[in-house]
């Protein structure tokens, strides 16, 4: 689906990514984990073309990305924080993005799961943070994209909405979609991740399934396994 090869990125004196290789396959939920500032969001932005790598290649379905944005028709992105135009309503925003994508398709599933219908006609400035986050999620899933990129998807959601979202993510995975998930919430990672990519010091230090990670580190809890990885990474 998508493959990153030797991605380097520095911001001024700070080298954020120092040669990241990562492949995300179809029908898998791949969690990118790592400490704060390890470059998770930067990596996601590279995939979206929001930031440009200094070196390295990104290959989407066998074709190298060259600056044209058309491949993003296959991606649904849910950013961690999003500010929608204050004067637009949710419905206007959804219609606008459909129009921009030239894609009349709309998956109503999440709107129903979140019981959002009544909120869609209010302008964003009157909506709570949680409701905005729900619309953010609906937008990412709306066009049944091949690849979903979810950055801290359940932060700001109430437990019921968070649960509905997790169910939806699993459903999409089972339908053969790829998911890239970035999260600090252990429960979320435990509940969703199939594969884990551990990012530290600008490189992927560990890549494997969640089950292998736990077995390999001898920890039953993900939190413990990650703690071990971090200490090992710091030593190495």
């Amino acid at each position: 689906m998508i493959r990153l090869e030797g991605i380097h990125k520095r911001y001024g004196a700070l080298a954020v990514l120092k040669g990241v290789d990562l492949e995300v396959g179809a029908g898998r939920i791949t969690a990118i984990i790592g400490p704060n500032g390890s470059g998770k969001t930067t990596l996601i932005k590279m995939i979206l073309g929001l930031a440009k790598p200094d070196a390295g290649r990104i290959i989407w379905n066998g074709i190298r990305l060259n600056g044209d944005g058309q491949y993003r028709a296959g991606i649904g992105y849910m950013p961690q924080i999003v500010r929608f135009p204050e004067n637009l309503s949710g419905r206007e925003l959804l219609a606008m993005i459909s129009d921009l994508r030239r894609n009349p398709e709309s998956d109503p599933d999440l709107v129903q799961r979140f019981r959002l219908e009544g909120e869609l006609d209010k302008p964003f400035r009157t909506l709570s943070g949680g409701t905005r986050q729900k619309i953010n999620a609906c937008l990412a899933f709306r066009f049944s994209p091949q690849l979903l990129i979810l950055d801290e998807p359940t932060s700001g959601l109430d437990p019921i909405a968070a649960r509905a979202l997790k169910e939806k993510v699993r459903k999409e995975r089972d339908a053969g979609k790829s998911v890239i998930l970035s999260s600090h919430m252990m429960s979320e990672l435990e509940a969703l991740a199939d594969d884990v990519a551990f990012l530290l010091d600008g490189r992927i230090q560990y890549r494997g399934t969640l089950a292998d990670l736990k077995a390999g580190t001898g920890e039953s809890e993900l939190e413990g396994a990650i703690a071990k990885l971090m200490t090992a990474g710091a030593v190495a």
Partner: protein, 262 residues
């Protein structure tokens, strides 16, 4: 419809509801109305309006433009996560501000002028004023875009915009005047022509002032400008230079956006 036009349409919807734009329109509506009410003749009113325009239009365009780009940052990021190219985004955002700014000025000035009515020979002046405003709006909005895309920090960006406006609309003129005064013994016509071509506000001013019998206000070089800019070649050169003044910052801004990391 192209992606750029779609973005433009949505931007227009948003910008048209903004309070700043309405205040801008309201200001020129009131200013034009009052000037025509209280001036002894419409030529004087137009001259005052031209002077207000030359100061306010660049200021509002550059300040609103800079703030607009910072405010649109999240929205840009949102759109760029979809199949939208950066060039399309740039075009949509730029026109989404420049078009309503120019349009609301035109409406705000045209309404009182039409209600009060101007003598036939001044209709051309009004049209020229509108044309100059379209150029000034496009130029200073483009400069604003370049500044806001170059300077990460919002406060510094708005500061830079303010200083740029001050430089081009106020300080530049003062310096030129000082220089011309100091070097009065030298033949300055040609260098001064060049100096004026290098500043869009001066360029617009000279083109406008030729319509009023105030070339004298521009000192002893007035005649030279009248000869140069008054002719059709001069006007063509002026419009050409103004067009370059739109194109250069636009290109710069577009490239800055193309390379920007969000």
């Amino acid at each position: 419809m192209s992606t750029m036009l779609k973005i433009l349409r949505y931007e227009l919807r948003d910008v048209m509801r903004s309070r700043a734009l309405l205040m801008y329109g309201g200001f020129f509506l009131a200013a034009t109305w009052l000037l025509f009410q209280f001036s002894s003749d419409s030529s004087k009113a137009l001259l005052s309006l031209a002077n207000v325009t030359l100061l306010i239009v660049p200021l509002v365009s550059i300040i609103l433009g800079t703030m607009f780009v910072y405010d649109a940052r999240e929205f840009s990021e949102l759109l760029l996560a979809h199949p939208v190219n950066r060039r399309q985004l740039f075009g949509g955002l730029y026109l989404g501000l420049a078009v309503p700014l120019a349009a609301i000025y035109a409406v705000a000035v045209a309404i009182p002028v039409m209600v009060v009515g101007v003598p036939g020979e001044q209709v051309g002046t009004v049209v020229q004023l509108l044309l100059a405003t379209v150029y000034l709006t496009c130029i200073f909005t483009a400069i604003a875009f370049a500044i806001a895309l170059r300077v990460e920090d919002r406060v510094r960006g708005i500061g830079t915009a303010l200083v740029t406006w001050l430089g081009l609309a106020v300080v530049y003129d003062a310096l030129v005047l000082l220089g011309a005064n100091a070097l009065y013994a030298w033949p300055l016509e040609r260098p001064l022509l060049a100096v004026i071509l290098l500043n869009p506000v001066d360029l617009a001013r000279v083109v406008l002032m030729l319509n009023f019998d105030v070339s004298a206000l521009m000192g002893y070089t007035g005649a030279v400008f009248r000869d140069f800019f008054g002719g059709s070649t001069g006007l063509l050169v002026a419009v050409g230079a103004l067009t370059v003044w739109v194109a250069v910052p636009l290109r710069l801004g577009s490239r800055l956006l193309e390379r920007k990391d969000f």
